[in-house]
């Protein structure tokens, strides 16, 4: 029996969407500068989680190294705006150019990586292990490479600027990032509801069956992997601006697994659920980690296990799904 029988599933989802947007939009009314700057970073994590949901929830590709793309995006942003990339000066160090370069750079890297992995027909846990290895390697390289800051990373990243106007007010930055998240959400939602998204879900359900209908599976997977990586790269670039630093930890193993937990907790099969999963976990973490200290990780682990046992579709997954129950 559907608890929300009085409105159609689509109507319910739309109401929640609008509610989330209003709630986030009204958040600055709390007038708490610290919380606002925290939430700005959480929005970025939410965008990152959404990009993982695209390939994991919709494409069935379990990527254990998604932070690599986030980190590459962040480093490209930092290096470009700080003018540290040789030969790039003037307009090429602007925020907008750096954002575009972050998206393009990570998407390109992902398409090359994806070409080798998917053409080699790597899937399931094997794919996970290889991407995990990529994350560890990336973290090692970033730690040892002094030019990009080595272990300490890069700080003093220039503020977000649009056409010469520097966004120094945290409130404006918050709305800029919220706006970007909204645009990316709408684009991603469009993709998963387009014919491509239908085929993608079919690949997740039964890859062989799709291949025997004439589809080139490797190409489909490379495409969605690159799109997902591009969004993760954009999230990383925004992180660099919002947090004002980048360090090797953001492209390694730990963030890669953390984002998996956010997405699994929120609901990997729904973009908005993954987004809310990241924001919720980070918010709870911010509230509880002072009290719990190191036990926070333990608590998160317990929460994760409980969620897998009792809410396999995630905390928000069922609520936001417009499909009938299995």
């Amino acid at each position: 029996m559907n608890k929300f029988a009085f409105i159609s599933p689509n109507g319910r989802v739309n109401i929640i969407r609008i509610f989330v947007l209003i709630a986030l939009g009204c958040f600055p009314l709390l007038q708490d500068a610290y919380l606002l700057s925290q939430l700005t970073v959480f929005l970025v994590y939410g965008l990152f989680a959404m990009s993982l949901s695209l390939i994991w929830g919709y494409g069935g590709i379990l990527c254990f190294g998604h932070a690599v793309f986030f980190g590459i995006g962040a480093y490209i942003m930092a290096l470009t705006t700080k003018g540290m990339i040789p030969g790039m000066t003037g307009i090429f160090t602007s925020t907008l150019f750096a954002l575009l370069l972050s998206i393009a750079g990570t998407a390109l890297f992902a398409s090359i990586l994806g070409y080798f992995l998917f053409s080699g027909r790597l899937s399931g846990p094997y794919f996970g292990i290889v991407t995990l290895a990529v994350a560890v390697v990336a973290e090692r390289i970033a730690t040892k490479w002094d030019y990009i800051g080595g272990f300490n990373g890069l700080t003093n990243i220039p503020a977000f600027s649009i056409g010469g106007y520097e966004v120094l007010d945290p409130l404006v930055l918050f709305y800029v990032i919220l706006g970007i998240c909204l645009i990316l959400y709408l684009i991603s939602d469009r993709i998963v509801n387009a014919p491509f998204g239908t085929i993608l879900s079919a690949v997740r359900d039964n890859e062989d069956r799709v291949e025997f209908f004439g589809y080139n599976i490797a190409n489909l997977k490379i495409l969605i992997f690159s799109i997902s990586a591009g969004i993760a790269g954009l999230a990383g670039a925004l992180f660099a601006v919002a947090a004002e630093f980048v360090s090797p930890t953001i492209l390694g193993f730990s963030l890669s697994t953390e984002v998996l937990i956010w997405v699994a907790l929120g609901g990997r099969e729904i973009l908005l659920a993954a987004f809310l999963g990241a924001i919720s976990v980070r918010t709870i973490e911010a509230l509880l980690s002072d009290i719990l200290g190191y036990y926070w990780i333990l608590g998160l682990g317990v929460l994760f296990i409980l969620c897998v046992m009792f809410f396999p579709r995630g905390l928000f997954g069922q609520l936001l799904s417009n499909k009938p129950r299995n």
Binding site: A194, P195, I199, D205, D208, E211, G214
Partner: protein, 248 residues
Amino acid sequence: MAFILETKDLTKQFGGLTAVDKTSLKLKEGGLRCILGPNGCGKTTLFNLISGCYKPTSGKIIFAGQDISGQPVHLINRAGIGRKFQIPSVFNSMTVEENLRVPSSSNWKPSLLRSKNSVPGNRQEILTLLNLLKLTEKTNELAGNLSHGEKQWLEIGMVMASKPRLMLLDEPTAGMTAAETNKTAQLIHQISIETGISVVVIEHDLNFVKKLASRVTVMYKGSIFREGNYEEIQEDKDVQSIYLGRKR
């Protein structure tokens, strides 16, 4: 005489085991054919070779005048060979209608941003198919919630939606009740007569083969053993002995 499918001395070896041994099969356009044989005689391997799952060790596969041996799976499908798997393979988390939309050939390069309503796959064609499969009432049901028999029919429908010239059906009645088996026989008969699609069926169930009233090819130890109509095959002493395991 034009053949839709012709295999020439088709052979597949797995190490020391020869699963398909110099098989030469000829199939007329628009025909219905049953392939019969005891377990391990190479029926499914033959399907895997034709549909591109395996590359042949030697020999050729000619489909509609073109040599397709060793081509990748998706290109063989695009050439016009559709295949139904032995285990029902439908997309469980998608609705019946969505399942039927996936095979539409205009999707091969699926559009990234257009809305779902503009999905290729003609709505009228899908309705006709649903009617043929007798699944009209389940249009918006998740495929995972269908019964075993319904999943089998849905998959046959999906293969039809991909508009093949040749359909390979691997044990379409596996796990079905007698009533479902009858219905499946009717369905396949109807497809064969009404659409002109050539159909090859792998089958164990002799009753089903009898109902199809098609030409029968018996395979044994990787090669073609006998060919004939149902009565000829049924009365053949050698066929009886390979099935019942008597010493020959």
